[in-house]
């Protein structure tokens, strides 16, 4: 037993030295994660902040001016132009100078005073239909409150029904609050998978793996020695992203740190298992990296990181069950944001454990048997 530990430790030490001996790899393993998590934390948002828009006001009435000034006062809509002819609409939307154009017809005010509906036209650049949809919703809510105010001001009734909105776990519904915890899983998987897949492949390419195999080390010992360094580096990277999430972006941490790390550890272990299996199958580093990406991209798309799992078709939803990232993202989000306990998120651990239990022995077996 002592010998076992001694040998494993020696192997781990060797692996760490190999990974960290080069100053540029030391930098590239830790600095970019810090930078990227800050950068992506700012970039990864679906929340509307700045919508450049233009106006074609053919009514030029006090009422239309009042409506437009309500739009201007949101802080989100910035008027970039006042148009005078309808041909100008295309001229300003095509080159993306304005995301939307509000067109108010000449009969706008008379219609309103006659008690009729007064339609206004909204032309939206839907080259990004998600942004266009959010912008349209926003305009609609401004128009709704404008209608209510006007009705009241002209002797009508106050709106009888009030909606009291509330959101669980994320009161202002900021995208960043759910992107950043998911990034903890995504960025650390990217790194552990890449590192683990390179370990054996690199030795194969350089011819040193045969030497390792003839040492007294058993496949199990080799595997532990190869698995632990990427795991630890992955954990350090998760910690960096967590730190940025908690202290830079100040996303409140609702759960238990121990629980969070317990799950992240199993998640990283599953990632290393997948990585080592790739490594054992690949003939050289280049193949290892290609196969890593071959897995990583679909894993990211099917993880629920960017789009909810529920909107996927049935076949793909089943496919996500084999995706460690899906459970990693879910785990970190729920423990971090929702403060979920083991009884709620516990089921996430089962698939992760299965993935680790399948991939790690496979990798150990492949180490020896792929040689022939």
């Amino acid at each position: 037993m002592v010998e076992f530990l001694y040998r494993v430790l020696a192997m781990i030490r060797k692996e760490f030295r190999l990974t960290l001996k080069d100053p540029s790899s030391r930098v590239i393993l830790f600095a970019p994660v810090l930078l990227q998590s800050v950068l992506f934390g700012y970039a990864a948002t679906y929340d509307l902040v700045n919508v450049p828009y233009a106006v074609l006001d053919e009514s030029r009435s006090p009422t239309s001016v009042a409506l437009l000034s309500q739009l201007d006062s949101t802080g989100v809509f910035h008027r970039v132009a006042n148009l005078s002819r309808s041909e100008q609409i295309a001229q300003i939307i095509n080159p993306e100078t304005a995301l939307l154009v509000v067109r108010i017809g000449p009969r706008f005010e008379p219609a309103l005073f006659a008690g009729e509906d007064a339609p206004i036209q909204l032309a939206l650049d839907a080259r990004n239909s998600t942004t266009a949809g959010s912008a349209a919703d926003y305009v609609a809510s401004v128009v709704d409150s404008f209608n209510a105010d006007q009705r009241q001001a002209h002797g009508g009734m106050a709106p009888a029904l009030r909606i009291e909105p509330r959101a669980w776990f994320n009161p202002n519904l900021e995208t960043r609050w759910n992107m950043m915890p998911a990034m903890v899983a995504e960025l650390s998987l990217l790194q552990t998978l890449l590192l683990a897949s390179l370990t054996v492949a690199r030795e194969r390419e350089q011819g040193t793996f045969d030497q390792t195999l003839v040492t007294p080390l058993t496949p199990l010992e080799i595997m532990i020695g190869k698995a632990l360094p990427p795991m630890l580096i992955g954990l350090v990277q998760s910690t960096i992203v967590l730190g940025v999430t908690r202290f830079w972006f100040q996303v409140p941490f609702a759960g238990s740190f121990y629980l969070l790390y317990a799950g992240v550890m199993l998640f990283v272990l599953a990632g290393v298992g997948v990585g080592l299996s790739i490594s054992a199958l690949a003939a050289n580093m280049q193949q290892a990296m290609q196969y890593t990406f071959f897995l990583l991209m679909p894993m990211t798309l099917l993880s629920g990181l960017l789009t909810p799992i529920r909107t996927m078709p049935q076949v793909l939803r089943v496919a996500t069950m084999a995706n460690p990232l899906r459970f990693g993202v879910d785990w970190v989000r729920r423990v971090y944001l929702e403060g979920a306990g083991l009884s709620i998120v516990g089921p996430d651990l089962i698939p992760l454990a299965i993935i680790a239990a399948v991939t790690l022995p496979t990798a150990a077996w492949l180490f020896r048997n792929r040689l022939a």
Binding site: D22, S24, S25, P32, Q36, L39, F40, A43, T45, Y46, D47, L48, V49, N50, N94, E96, G115, P119, I120, L122, L124, D125, A126, R127, N128, S129, G133, S134, A140, V143, F146, G156, M157, A160, L161, R162, I163, E164, P165, R166, A167, W168, F169, L173, W177, N178, L190, L194, L198, M285, Q286, Q290, Y291, F293, F294, L301, L302, L306, T307, L337
Partner: protein
């Protein structure tokens, strides 16, 4: 490595052809190249087209009616009529909360027991609760619910006004919205995800794969071995780049065909312009890959640098998923500095909006600038490394 040795007249083309042939063979033989050059793009096309969508329809919501009056049924009718919502009536708030905790529903609408009484007094409240773990969905669902309930609210106000004014029309009309979505008649996120996919695939092949391949040659010293032959360095690099250029173009062709025939995305602009622009971006990506490999001369560092400098930014900072209008100025400047951002703008516009010349010319000029800059720097650096 059988480069023709004799530097005869016109030998440049001969040498280049022979070398390119050799590189093509090398690429062809390795199955992993097939996986990442052809199978991965095909897989991504399927996933992007059928798997992921940012559109929300039929969002399940739980409705708790603590007030069972007829008015409430009237108020809630809007929810059932909405094509975006799928209401499910439950008896108690506790039940609704359990459904939401298990993420079986995206939102809860609660009509409190004193609703009718409050409504008569003119100040009734409906509670709308959404799950903030997915802020994007939550916001959309909130908007749908507010819209569905708001309709009743407006009609009710009109009715009340009519009643007070003795059956006449309402005192004051309402502003209504007529929305027209330009360039995306289907209002489907697939339409803008597919042009983004072109950018991702070309960045992957151009910058990531190329940087790996060339870094490997540096690492093994095989590039130096080639440099001592009569073949000129530029020819060696060209021969390395041409096969990857072709692979990138195959990816592009697959994307365009899938966009047109599988997803029904209309290609409004000129196909030739789209191809030309893609060639330009492919040169930019290859330049980036070459530069990274010459700078690192090591497969591990090259792979890390390629992911961090070219691939991840192309996904997250180019405006592909996250609109650059919404990010802070500094991040926007970084995003605008990426060639991927400009290529995305170009493909999106050419595919969805048409030949918007000012935009096409601007983005093409930027891409040409990047291509010259990156390929020039890569050649310089390679020359310096040999010397």
């Amino acid at each position: 490595m059988s480069a023709p040795a004799a530097p005869v007249a016109g030998g440049r083309w001969l040498r280049l052809r022979a070398l390119t042939q050799k590189e093509f063979r090398q690429l062809w033989r390795d199955r992993s190249n097939w996986a990442s050059g052809i199978v991965l793009p095909a897989l991504l096309i399927v996933l992007f087209g059928y798997g992921i969508s940012l559109d929300i329809t039929n969002a399940p919501i739980a409705v708790v009616r603590e007030d069972r009056s007829a008015t409430v049924a009237d108020v809630l009718a809007g929810l059932q009529l909405s094509p975006y919502l799928h209401p499910r009536f439950v008896a108690t708030m506790r039940e609704a909360e359990a459904l939401m905790a298990s993420r079986s529903v995206d939102g809860i609408v609660r009509v409190p027991s004193d609703f009718s009484a409050d409504l008569a007094a003119g100040h009734a409240t409906v509670q709308v609760i959404v799950h903030g773990s997915d802020a994007g969905t939550a916001r959309t669902v909130q908007g749908y619910i507010a819209g569905a309930l708001g309709q009743w609210s407006a009609h009710n106000a009109d009715r009340a006004a009519r009643a007070t004014s003795g059956g006449e029309s309402a005192v004051f009309g309402s502003v209504t919205l007529q929305e027209r979505l330009w360039f995306n008649a289907a209002n489907s996120s697939t339409w803008y995800l597919v042009p983004g996919l072109v950018v991702i695939i070309m960045t992957f092949v151009g910058a990531f794969l190329t940087s790996l391949v060339v870094a490997r040659e540096w690492e093994r010293g095989t590039l130096e071995a080639l440099f001592v032959t009569p073949v000129r360095p530029v020819e060696i690099l060209l021969a390395k780049l041409i096969p990857y250029f072709v692979v990138g173009m195959i990816g592009l062709a697959m994307c365009i065909l899938a966009a047109r025939f599988l997803f029904g995305v209309p290609i409004v602009g000129s196909l030739i312009l789209l191809l030309l622009g893609s060639c330009l971006y492919m040169l930019v990506a290859l330049g980036m890959g070459l530069l990274i490999s010459s700078a690192t001369k090591n497969q591990f560092l090259a792979s890390q640098a390629a992911v961090l400098l070219s691939f991840l930014p192309a996904v997250l900072l180019s405006g592909f998923l996250f609109d650059l209008h919404n990010v802070p100025v500094l991040v926007r400047i970084i995003g605008e500095a990426l060639p991927a951002t400009h290529f995305l703008e170009l493909t999106k516009t050419l595919m969805l909006a048409g030949n918007v010349w000012p935009l096409v010319l601007r983005e093409s000029a930027i891409l040409i600038g990047y291509a010259v800059l990156l390929l020039g720097a890569a050649t310089l650096l390679t020359r310096k490394r040999i010397a």
